[in-house]
Symmetry: C3
């Protein structure tokens, strides 16, 4: 009996591996018209796509909100191994709530996706309170104690944090100051003697005031909070907001203050979309992290044209709306005579709210909005990054190649290639279905498109 | 027979793994008075504690001294993975001895724990000799040939080096210039032809002068040293000391000279203890390594109050005396519904001479001296690090949190919390057993405590 | 049957491991004259030696040239683990050829070994074309589209690139703009809809102009190139060269232009050899990469004397000629009582054209040219690196050690050691067989050596 078990386990293992390679390895091949076929990975076979429902792990959740962390990038695919020091955290809280004071062993770059926040950083020599709105960002240096209020009466607060852990490349922990039913205060980790000497008080008094005595809750007098996100009364919010600074007027900021991604002139803008961006060269908080931050709006039916980042690895977070994304990479293919062959491979996904997508440096990408959409992008390794467009009038790297080389590289004569490349007169954002739209717009120009034209 | 062996080996493996999880997994739970219980790891179950007897590996040892290296931090626990590029080396030598000339493929930050040293760095364009005493530190850049004299007639020399290897994250090697019975000269690695051409001499002459001929020792004429630490005569020491510069007067220093940790004003000081510190901002040698260096004295019965470093990972080395240390971390606990729960966990240890303890960034820590004690601390990732105290009058981060938030966070009303936090009127260092001391001091004020009062 | 297979497989595995340890573990011991024996690794047992035929992997090859990449350094030996972010690429092309436009997810430092190149970098806002000759170097930033012409009518172009990947420590990929029979255009990875919208054209037109229609080749009209290296006509070269800048006159350069390793005064030079070097301190492109670049010529029978780099890890590439290299390291030997013993170990190799050899920081090395030879060296971690010679008159670190210490370190009295060290009156490069040469030159001074004397 025992002798048989081992081969059986091995056999099961082999079957399990085989089934894995089936479930993860399925790619289909697309063969449109006269072109060569291209292999495509989509949905869960696409390692750059992190579906919000599947790839976030909940750290805390109660009726007032939640904190979730995205799985490690480097564990998903070796092609993202240089993201191993970065994690993505999502936080949501209901109106009139407080995330209790805590600190973490990671630097955070916090961005407000929607709603309003009062963020207070506490240092041994004082505190700094700021009101942040959609598109505002602020660095929270590692080890800084902070708390976060959603002061709004109606709107949920949604926040994304890029985390750069300190003690370990990919793990970090939140140290909460006070005890709740879900969570112990880190002060509770110290022994009676140390607490008594530190607070110059009897342990009974310390327990009563800081940790809550046993049997307290039965008496209903003083009680622990249920979790780390708690409800606030309006008077409490008013008090907390009183000393906070409003930052709605500032575009770029000094060392320690929030900065506003959207209050500046967009880098690219037309009636199909616009891109706001702050680079490390422009902001000291981003320079410390070597990160750029972008916010991109694309109108329904708009296309962010094919482009690639020269050296930045982009972590894209969908704030609202939906889009199809196509990322082009190369897939290794072992050949007979030891030589390798790299085949073009498309990684596609249908993005929706809170999904995350990684765009490696130098990989071409295009995004087609299927509804009005907005996404946020963290660009890692951002200093001196250059965005290269592959179509459109401006910043088009192909149009800078001399005709003689285009002539040699492409099957058609150089002048035909130049004509094709220069045909598109728009830049950055275009209509994803120009033929159909023309037909539609021949019929009538509806009120929505008029409004859009006004906005941009 | 053979068929049976494989399952048996597997079974033994499983039993071995099970026994490991028992021997490393034991933690006890402390349940004092009314507070919730806290899990505790102490002694060898505490991965942050490196007992001197157990975790140092001897590289060289003879009757005149020894060189030991601490095991890798990252192999002990993932919580210290970002220390993977750092090693700790301990060196001790008897009075009137010399550590022979050598170089290594690592940057060293050398600190004298006790005794006196003459450190000579040799470069192709000259040499630089300095006298170092307790608390003096100096960077030895990778590849620099150096030798080290203990010029004292009575006292042992004790040195700690932080090593940052160059070729490999965690390995480095010492290349000795001359041959001893324990060790070959690296020059001996070259072939006859290369040595003859390089020294423009016959190999017999080279062997005689540099490596020692076979049969030499029988003749008793010219002989190899027994090991890399050798005895010196007083005249030899006098000669070597003649050109050395004394650095006892300098506090901070220029690029290439030793600097004195203890000749400056302490950052914190009272009658229970004091802390000297030099940060990267103040010293170019430390800036290169992004390390801070501290020396902390605590009087018997004194307590360094609970505090955490915002971003520095601290490697603490006990120079003399004994203490209890409590470090507070979080321990992951898998729960039913995929959600995680982080439980507060205490890592405690009884520290004595030459023990090493790692304090990860953001982890609260408190140290209670059970005898007069001194320790040295290397702070890794030190630039802009901030020490946050959790009790005491000054630099207390909790006292900067607004009353309304304390009110919400803690079970007692805000004003009671504020009163508790502000009760301790001392800062940084306090009496670890105030009640007992008061009782004792009511009896009589002894001569020892009077002396201590005078010293601080 | 099935029960037997598992132990058999295990047994085969054990035999395989045993055979590996035999084939890789063989070292012989050299015992010359009176000195202690030294263990030696040579040929394929030497992990620092990368034979050109064995360790390069071909990425592309056709009748006009090839691209090859060296295996990973960190996979060969842990002693080179800190080279894990670096790869070496070799490119060769025949006269009158073009390497088609592409970009990669890696920074490149390109050096011309022999021949002439026109290197054109293309950015969204323009292009920059330069003529590079032997010893010219230029950084190609990650993500920059470039193409490379060999404009010469007769000579092959040989190039070495140091690659520093962006998305993953050790992998990078080349993205080609156009399709060939061997390779798809990355544009082909996008779907029909995105291509049509981006180029504002019908997919049939796009296929015809950019990718080549099926059945095209039968018709023989417009056709794809066979591979990524293509032949050029002289008129095409003349056109491409017209706007290129010649850099033959420049020694050091501004941010984005090629710089010439050999147009400066050599750092060391005599009749046996010379060394040109550009350090990060002198060139912004090298400062970005923290790399130094050297070109070393050694005459047949010349010896680059024993020396070590204080902190730079050197990747040596043989450009032409042959030499014997000896590298001295330490080999760990486990001893009985847990103490370790480090034995001197020689890593030797016979180098010839296109071979690669790694010299770890702090490891002594000597190179003996067996024909006139030239090699190129990339020094990684180069800032403030110091080269320490171990023999010869200048930059000799041993001659800076005080006599009293030499006296204690070596078996012979100090003055004898000093006499031996100072006997060699040349520096850096010497005659590898002085005795034999003297005898020979007594006979007659031949025409070759006269020419050599004139050259240096």
């Amino acid at each position: 009996m025992m002798r048989a078990r081992v081969p059986l386990l091995l056999l099961l293992g082999i079957l399990f591996l085989a089934s894995l390679s089936v479930s993860f390895g399925i790619v289909h091949r697309e063969h449109h018209e006269s072109r060569e076929e291209v292999s495509v990975s989509s949905g869960k076979n696409n390692p750059f796509y992190f579906n919000s429902d599947r790839w976030f792990r909940t750290l805390y959740r109660n009726e007032w909100g939640h904190i979730r962390v995205l799985q490690r990038f480097d564990q998903r695919s070796k092609q993202m191994q240089n993201l191993e020091n970065y994690r993505v955290v999502e936080f949501q809280s209901k109106p009139n709530t407080l995330l209790l004071p805590h600190h973490a062993d990671a630097d955070f770059l916090l961005v407000v996706l929607s709603g309003k926040a009062v963020l207070t950083l506490v240092n041994p020599d004082g505190r700094d309170s700021n009101i942040l709105e959609q598109g505002h960002a602020q660095k929270i240096p590692a080890g800084t104690t902070f708390f976060l209020v959603n002061p709004d009466d109606n709107e949920n607060l949604r926040i994304i944090k890029l985390a750069v852990p300190v003690n370990n490349p990919h793990r970090f922990q939140d140290f909460f100051l006070s005890s709740t039913e879900a969570q112990q205060s880190y002060l509770q980790g110290f022994s009676k003697n140390i607490l008594e000497a530190s607070f110059d008080s009897d342990i009974k008094e310390i327990n009563r005031v800081l940790f809550g005595e046993e049997g307290q809750q039965q008496q209903g007098q003083e009680s622990q909070q249920e979790g780390v996100i708690v409800e606030l009364k309006r008077e409490q919010i008013r008090e907390l907001i009183r000393h906070a600074k409003s930052n709605s007027k500032k575009a770029l900021s000094s060392q320690n203050e929030p900065f506003n991604l959207r209050n500046q002139k967009p880098v690219y803008s037309n009636r199909f979309g616009r891109l706001h961006e702050i680079t490390p060269e422009k902001n000291p908080q981003l320079r410390d992290l070597d990160v750029f931050l972008s916010s991109v709006d694309i109108k329904e039916g708009g296309l962010l044209m094919p482009n690639y980042n020269s050296k930045a690895i982009v972590i894209l977070v969908v704030n609202e709306g939906e889009a199809n994304i196509e990322l082009v990479g190369l897939k290794e293919q072992q050949q007979q005579q030891q030589e390798e062959n790299w085949e073009v491979h498309r990684y596609s996904a249908e993005l929706s709210e809170d999904d995350v997508f990684v765009i490696p440096a130098a990989y071409p990408v295009a995004i087609n909005a299927t509804s009005n959409m907005n996404f946020l992008a963290f660009g890692i390794n951002a200093e001196n990054n250059q965005r290269n467009f592959l179509a459109g009038e401006k910043d088009n790297v192909i149009s800078e190649i001399p005709t003689e080389v285009l002539d040699l590289a492409f099957p058609a004569p150089g002048e035909k290639v130049v004509k094709l490349i220069n045909k598109q007169s728009l830049s950055y954002f275009v209509d994803a279905q120009p033929q159909q739209k023309e037909e539609r717009s021949k019929g009538r120009k509806g009120p929505l498109s008029s409004i859009l034209d006004t906005l941009y």
